[in-house]
């Protein structure tokens, strides 16, 4: 693992960019009798970086789990690469919303990345035939390549529990990428990170998106660390969704309509967005310390 972070190692993109990777039509989800959201239309193309925004409890994670086929729709349809989500699981790289691994987790980062590749295979990892040995070598190189791409080579062989939140997150992104997925779903990957690490991870995701032609859906609480990297946003609130470029969606009138309450969007001198007046108290797009 000698390739420095950020080097465009040879990564053939898995498909033509511009193809529709994820499509939702009139999608609705009802959980426990409550409608989480309804009438959501969304199309994400390969090579496109879309942020999923909205207040706590708006159903951002549920929307992601719908695309993964883990939550059924009550109306509408969801297609991943033109198929039912359950048929295309191997085409989706997923990083769930989670706390980090605690210090007692005794497994190395590189093992976790490798599990992303072969964790679904039954039987012993014996390579008896020449073909199997060749495949194993290719897979080992793939694991190293994706760890380098994530800039995690320096600490990949240390136990994951001993690493910082930012280091863990980069290894988990490597794990999500290792199978060359067409779609990458990242649920709050910036959540536990400090500002420099938020910027590093946002830049990494954009690079992956561009170089590998992956469709990226990234759930975030705060749009500001992503502003320079995004193609579009989808904003979930009040059971409805609004999709489009940042400057068209995150505006006072649009968000007021979505929330059904008066919302103002302020722009700071360095271009950050601050949403004021949203009904949910903990929700804000400001700087978080």
């Amino acid at each position: 693992m000698t390739v420095p972070a950020g080097t465009a190692v040879t990564l053939e993109s898995g498909g033509r960019s511009g193809d529709v990777a994820v499509a939702l039509r009139g999608a609705a989800v009802t959980l426990g009798g409550q409608t989480v959201f309804s009438n959501v239309d969304l199309e994400v193309r390969r090579g496109e970086f879309v942020a999923v925004l909205g207040p706590n409890g708006a159903g951002k994670s549920t929307l992601m789990r719908t695309i993964l086929g883990l939550v059924p729709l009550s109306a509408g349809s969801v297609r991943v690469l033109g198929h039912e989500p359950s048929e295309t699981r191997s085409e989706i790289g997923y990083l769930p919303q989670r706390r980090s691994f605690d210090s007692e987790t005794r497994i190395r980062g590189v093992d976790l990345v490798r599990l992303g590749l072969e964790g679904g295979r039954w039987g012993l990892p014996l390579a008896v035939t020449a073909g199997a040995r060749a495949r194993r070598r290719i897979e080992r190189e793939r694991v190293e390549e994706v760890i380098s791409l994530a800039g995690a080579a320096a600490y990949a062989t240390r136990p994951i529990g001993e690493l910082s939140g930012g280091e863990q997150q980069r290894l988990l992104i490597a794990q999500a990428l290792v199978r060359r997925p067409a779609v990458l779903i990242l649920d709050e990957p910036l959540d536990s990170l400090d500002l420099p690490n938020q910027a590093i991870v946002a830049a990494l995701v954009q690079r992956v998106c561009a170089v590998q032609g992956v469709a990226v859906l990234l759930v975030a609480h705060d749009v500001n660390p992503l502003l320079g990297y995004l193609d579009r946003v989808i904003y979930l609130a009040g059971g409805k969704a609004l999709a489009g470029p940042v400057q068209e969606v995150i505006t006072g009138p649009k968000l007021s309509e979505l929330y059904g309450a008066r919302i103002e969007v302020l722009r700071t001198s360095d271009g950050r967005l601050v949403v004021v007046g949203s009904p949910e108290a903990p929700h804000h797009h400001g700087h978080r310390h």
């Binding site: 359950s86 699981r89 997923y94 989670r98 497994i107 093992d111 599990l115 992303g116 679904g120 295979r121």
Partner: protein, 289 residues
């Protein structure tokens, strides 16, 4: 008892003396099989933090043995039935997601208490089993027949074969259940399967080693191995090596001493775990002064 065996400083002749007795050869064979089985299954158990479940399953041998005696069934049947049923009962609580093992512990505690209560009920209904209590706790290691060794071997091969078949998906589901589930790994099924394998291993070995000893071999060697290395294959091999060393040492020393074998194996396992802990602590202190 006539004059007991005497320990000399000539280790070769000591070992030769030890192996001259068929009962010692049987005991060594049984101990080796048990050590390998417990080390491998225990490695997963410690990684999954299911030591409490493992302890409960080993305690289930108590109602199993007393119940079988009461019903006039072979003791072995009682062991397998009780451990299997308890494994299913714990597995049925089937919480998925990241807090599953935390919520599981309440269910396990209930199963353990119920098992113990039933055991005491069976015991009070049939006093004749009482004489076997020490055997039940510490095993009949030195009275193992050749047939018992063969049965043990068959069970160990079955259990280890099952672990080999599900090895990688089980590892994936153990350390990263959400991503494994999203990738289509049957996490809930693996949870129950592992508990059944654990129950099988515990039932088979506790008949010979006693309840306390099977738990010793199940926990201490894998826990020590995981403190030393976070690499899965190395950890499994080290765990097996530790368990074999502890079992052989315990048997050898017990032969020359007046204390039971269960005591010695447990003491060596405890010593191993404590010294690895201290070693790690000292290493960590030296790294950052």
């Amino acid at each position: 008892m006539s004059v007991g065996p005497t320990f000399s400083l000539d280790l070769v002749s000591d070992v030769r003396e030890l192996l001259a007795f068929p009962f010692m050869v049987n005991a060594l064979q049984a101990a080796s099989i048990v050590a390998v089985l417990a080390a491998v299954v225990g490695w997963y158990m410690v990684l999954r933090r299911q030591s409490f479940a493992g302890h409960t399953l080993s305690v289930m041998a108590f109602p199993g043995a007393t119940g079988a005696a009461l019903a006039g069934l072979p003791t072995a049947v009682g062991y397998y039935l009780a451990c299997g049923l308890a494994a299913l009962a714990i597995g049925r609580t089937g919480h998925s997601g990241r807090r599953r093992f935390a919520t599981e512990s309440a269910a396990i505690g209930t199963v353990q208490a119920t098992g113990l209560a039933l055991g005491f009920l069976f015991l009070s209904l049939n006093r004749s089993v009482l004489g076997g209590m020490e055997t039940f706790l510490f095993g009949t290691f030195l009275g193992v027949s050749h047939d018992q060794v063969l049965t043990l071997l068959v069970v160990a091969v079955l259990a280890l074969g099952a672990v080999a078949a599900i090895g990688r998906p089980l590892l994936f589901a153990s350390v990263d259940p959400e991503v494994a589930l999203a990738r289509g790994v049957p996490v809930a099924l693996l949870d129950v399967s592992f508990l059944l394998i654990l129950g099988l291993a515990v039932a088979a070995t506790s008949q010979i080693t006693g309840v306390l000893l099977v738990f010793t071999l199940l926990v201490a060697p894998p826990a020590a191995a995981q403190l030393i290395t976070a690499q899965p294959v190395a950890g499994l091999l080290l765990s097996v090596a530790f368990a074999l060393a502890v079992a052989w040492l315990g048997l050898g020393v017990a032969y020359f001493s007046i204390y039971p074998v269960g005591f010695w194996i447990t003491m060596f396992a405890f010593g191993l775990y404590v010294s690895v802990r201290i070693g790690r602590w000292a290493l960590a202190r030296r790294r950052r002064p």
